[in-house]
């Protein structure tokens, strides 16, 4: 694929809230929901949801990313779950 670090913001933005598999240097593979891609370094922030018990975050450094493959499209529920993890309570948009 085209050099990951050289992609444009709108290309990275498409990955938000998608479940992906990131292949990194040394054949390391990571799977998770994309919360964001740092537009400066190309680093990918992945969230793994293990039900109610635990949630973990893995960041793959942009310079080590070799390939990113979309596994599943996220829905509104995933988007809300991810936002709730990172955004302070006061800045969340409330509905109803």
């Amino acid at each position: 694929m085209q050099d990951w670090c050289k992609k444009r913001p709108h290309e990275w933005h498409k990955y938000i809230n998608q479940e992906v598999r990131v292949t990194a240097h040394d054949k390391n593979e990571y799977q998770g929901w994309v919360f964001t891609v740092d537009p400066v370094s190309g680093s990918v922030v992945l969230v793994t949801l293990h039900g109610q018990q635990s949630t973990s975050v893995r960041v793959v450094m942009g310079h080590a990313v070799r390939d990113v493959e979309v596994l599943k499209e996220g829905d509104e529920e995933i988007a809300q779950q991810l936002n709730a993890l990172f955004m302070p309570a006061g800045s969340q948009v409330l509905t109803n």
Partner: protein, 87 residues
């Protein structure tokens, strides 16, 4: 031209949103135990303190390495493949 200006503005808006989200992920990491996968398959863990503004270096405490514990350390981001922490 006008359409180019709109295009640039939209790219900037997306860039800002991506960056804000990334900075929030850094805030969430402060004072947490973070696991780092480095080159040459070295795994270390440490308590994350701060990053410099360019995010080229991480300041960490109690860095546990295969050779022992470093009370305070700076990790160069270019030496890291990935890092993870629990919420």
């Amino acid at each position: 031209t006008g359409t180019d200006a709109v295009h640039v503005e939209e790219e900037q808006r997306l860039r800002t949103e991506l960056r804000e989200r990334f900075l929030r992920s850094l805030i969430l990491m402060s004072n947490k135990e973070v696991y780092f996968s480095m080159y040459e398959r070295v795994q270390v863990q440490a308590k994350f303190g701060a990053s410099d503004i360019d995010i080229l270096n991480f300041q960490v405490s109690d860095l546990q390495t295969p050779l022992g514990v470093q009370k305070e350390a700076i990790l160069r981001c270019q030496d890291i493949i990935s890092y993870s922490f629990d919420l």
